[in-house]
């Protein structure tokens, strides 16, 4: 069994510090909410659909309250009040606003107790539905068990959801355990969730509720045929993290890309916005039994991977503690990692193995999401295929759980049908060929792998200490992660952050918290 010799004191210390860093962020944020969170509450209340010119009703509602200076109380209060006052459903109220038929900020107050009860009640259906979908998933996993790890995870990105569904099913039949429909370029910066089935995207397909549903149905059908539950993935990151978390929960997605800092570093989204949104979105993920995938692979693609180890680990520690605070169980925290060291350097395979094993050992109950080489792939598809093969090997040797299958054409285009076929075939071969190899080898004590792992871990502790001293906001301002510097007051979506008023009320948050602390309702362990 491959195991590194790791100093557990250093690990404990990293956890303590990360816990401290993230607690401070959460504290600072406790007084803030965002338009995305409020739109999510509206969705929980059943506000769905678009205006004739395509504006989603949750945006209509929240924009209306913002315009009227009432958003600080939270959307739930005013929406519930309006429902009571007008005798309408939340969606009817929203349509009236869209049509200019009402200004809900001026309606008569229906009494705090009444309004609060109404607010709670109007979100209850969604919560029930999400619990039902979670139960459905658990039942399906019993009935259609996934018996092998790593799970082979592939991407569809045709831009056309109908085509994605076809190709997703093909991939599942070829052996994929997980299908991700990646999003069109730019969706993360849209401050609304597109609506309906979509057939045009660039380098990906829009994440919409209708698209999620169509994919889920396609994969459910295929899962039954294959006798193996095929998981569906999308992204809840960008400016609509919590809304997409909601949609995904309702449409029974199984995993969601969701990182506490990705938006800040890689999309220049405002810090406060991101930290607030990630927390609420993760609470929904947690409640829905969804596995999150964090984005540490992005450090490895952006800066030299040989040197990025400590920032990857530091980020994982923080992502982990943010996730725990949002109620995610270890089994739901798919920490990101990737195989991105330049293949031109000597001993690259040894370094990859050391790092993959280190991540695995530090978070033993987390299903690490291990990402393939990308940056160092060039147009030579044959060599790229071989690079992936070593990635596949390391993944199997180190017992990873979620394995994003690399594509030989990574440097050229989003995967073609045959690219997926070839890559899955290769990954499945390695899973079979090397399945017990890791159990029959041992790490030489004090050798290259041990020393490499120890030095990365030490540097991680240093980095976390530095961040802790400065505070996370300041650390990011100074470019500690991925060399990217962001201002607390800068970035996109900042105008969507607001201070909660003393009357602020969010019934969903309350219910989620209650549900998550209630052991009987907490999502069960991952089946594999």
């Amino acid at each position: 069994m491959l195991r590194l010799s790791i100093d557990t004191k250093t690990v404990d210390r990293c956890h303590e510090i990360a816990e401290n860093i993230t607690s401070r962020v959460m504290e600072e944020l406790s007084s803030l909410s965002t338009v995305a969170i409020e739109r999510t509450v509206a969705r929980f209340a059943g506000v769905d659909g678009v205006t004739p010119d395509g504006v989603p009703l949750p945006n209509v509602l929240v924009d209306h309250l913002a315009e009227k200076g009432k958003i600080h109380d939270g959307v739930a209060v005013h929406l519930a009040n309006a429902c009571l006052a007008l005798g309408k459903t939340p969606v009817q109220v929203s349509r009236m606003i869209a049509g200019g038929e009402t200004d809900i900020s001026t309606l008569e107050w229906q009494g705090t107790e009444e309004v609060t009860r109404k607010a709670r009640e109007m979100c209850r259906d969604s919560l029930d539905k999400i619990r039902a979908r979670r139960a459905e998933r658990e039942a399906l996993l019993e009935e259609l068990p996934v018996t092998q790890t790593p799970w082979l995870y592939v991407i569809c990105a045709t831009g056309n959801i109908h085509e994605d569904a076809v190709q997703g099913k093909m991939a599942a039949a070829q052996g994929a355990d997980v299908i991700a429909v990646i999003r069109s370029t730019g969706q993360s910066l849209l401050d609304f969730v597109p609506h309906g089935l979509t057939t045009e995207g660039f380098g990906g397909t829009y994440a919409t509720q209708a698209n999620f549903r169509l994919m889920r149905e396609a994969l459910d059908e295929k899962s039954r045929k294959l006798g193996r539950y095929v998981r569906l993935v999308n992204y809840c990151s960008g400016l609509c993290m919590p809304e997409i978390a909601y949609i995904g929960a309702v449409e029974r997605l199984d995993m969601m890309l969701n990182d506490a800092m990705y938006g800040i570093l890689f999309r220049d989204i405002n810090m406060e916005r991101t930290f607030a949104d990630q927390n609420f979105s993760r609470m929904i993920n947690a409640y829905a039994g969804i596995i999150i995938n964090t984005g540490e692979d992005n450090y490895l693609t952006t800066v030299d991977a040989f040197n990025a180890g400590p920032s990857v680990l530091a980020s994982q520690f923080m992502n982990y503690h943010f996730a725990k605070k949002a109620g995610l169980r270890d089994e739901q925290i798919g920490l990101g990692h990737a195989f991105e060291i330049d293949p031109a350097i000597e001993d690259s395979l040894s370094y990859e193995l050391a790092m993959a094993l280190l991540v695995r050992q530090l978070f033993p109950d987390c299903p690490v999401k291990y990402m393939p080489p990308t940056v160092h792939k060039k147009g030579d598809i044959f060599s790229a295929h071989v690079l992936d093969s070593n990635f596949n090997l390391v993944s199997v040797l180190t017992g990873q759980t979620i394995h994003l299958v690399g594509m030989l054409t990574e440097a050229i285009h989003t995967p073609l049908v045959q690219d997926r076929y070839l890559s899955i075939k290769s990954a499945a071969y390695m899973r079979r060929a090397a399945q017990n190899l890791g159990h029959n080898l041992e790490i030489k004590r004090g050798g290259l792998l041990d020393t490499r792992a120890a030095s990365i871990l030490d540097d991680t502790l240093k980095l976390l200490r530095e961040v802790n001293e400065k505070g996370l906001f300041a650390a990011i301002t100074e470019g500690v992660f991925a060399g990217v510097k962001r201002l607390r007051t800068g970035g996109k979506g900042r105008e969507g952050v607001f201070k909660k008023s003393r009357w602020y009320f969010n019934p969903v948050e309350e219910d989620l918290r209650a549900g998550l602390s209630d052991r009987s309702q907490a999502p069960g362990p991952i089946q594999d």
């Binding site: 338009v35 678009v50 010119d53 395509g54 504006v55 989603p56 945006n59 929240v62 924009d63 913002a66 315009e67 958003i71 045709t158 056309n160 959801i161 109908h162 085509e163 569904a165 076809v166 190709q167 910066l189 849209l190 401050d191 609304f192 597109p194 609506h195 309906g196 089935l197 979509t198 057939t199 045009e200 829009y206 919409t208 400016l239 060039k378 147009g379 030579d380 598809i381 044959f382 054409t409 440097a411 050229i412 285009h413 989003t414 073609l416 049908v417 045959q418 996109k492 979506g493 105008e495 969507g496």
Partner: protein
Amino acid sequence: METGIGHRNCQVTSGGRASSAPHSDLVLPYGDELNDGLMQVSFTLPVAAGALAEEAARQAMKLMGLEDPQVAEAAAIGNNATFFIGYGRLTRPVELSKLRVAKPMWQELDQGTINRLLQETLARPLVVVGAATGQDAHTLGLDAILNYKGFAGNRGLEAYSAFKVVNMGSQVPNESLVAKARELTADAILVSQVVTERNVHLANLTNLVELLEAEGLRDKVVLVVGGPRITHALAVELGYDAGFGPGTRPQDVASYLAQEIARRHVELGHLHE
């Protein structure tokens, strides 16, 4: 307050065309969406790496009728040669209904049925002589068909009561094969040809037919050839009765032989009527 970059109505369609649409008669390669024509190529040009070589590569792809040719990789591999990997779009479709697919005429039968059919037809075992001929020493393919053990769990002809198999092995001169077939009054000759470099198999296979014809044996045997580069169409073109390619199972060959022998018997019967 504005919601960020403004609303954008993503194109919504009620039922976009998807690839599962029934396939038409005109087909093109399918990469990212049905009939997008995507084609991957790789090749080497004897031109030193550089802008000229890349343009030459794109030109070569255009000569193949590939639109939007992209050079994904251009690697100097020595001797002023450059290796290319490219993608382009084929725009001329294949017309399925126009294709002529050459197939030997047989249905898959099980071992019992084959034995029975041959027993009824011949009332004696069918004599099969097999060889890897000429300088070809690759016997695994032939053995897979003939030997008891067979191939991928499918038993070889030796496992059938209805066949008497003589496997002459490797590097058998055509002359020896013909002599053996005469000696045993073989019903079928099974030839394996694996080495095809510089088309050495074509000459060798043609020579065998000529020898058999010269000896007046050609019509007396079912003449079969197999190998990784053999297609039925090629076999027929060379004067063989059937050809079997990669992945052939013994049962395929047994089924074919039984039905072909039965067919000939009936025809012969008619002839004698």
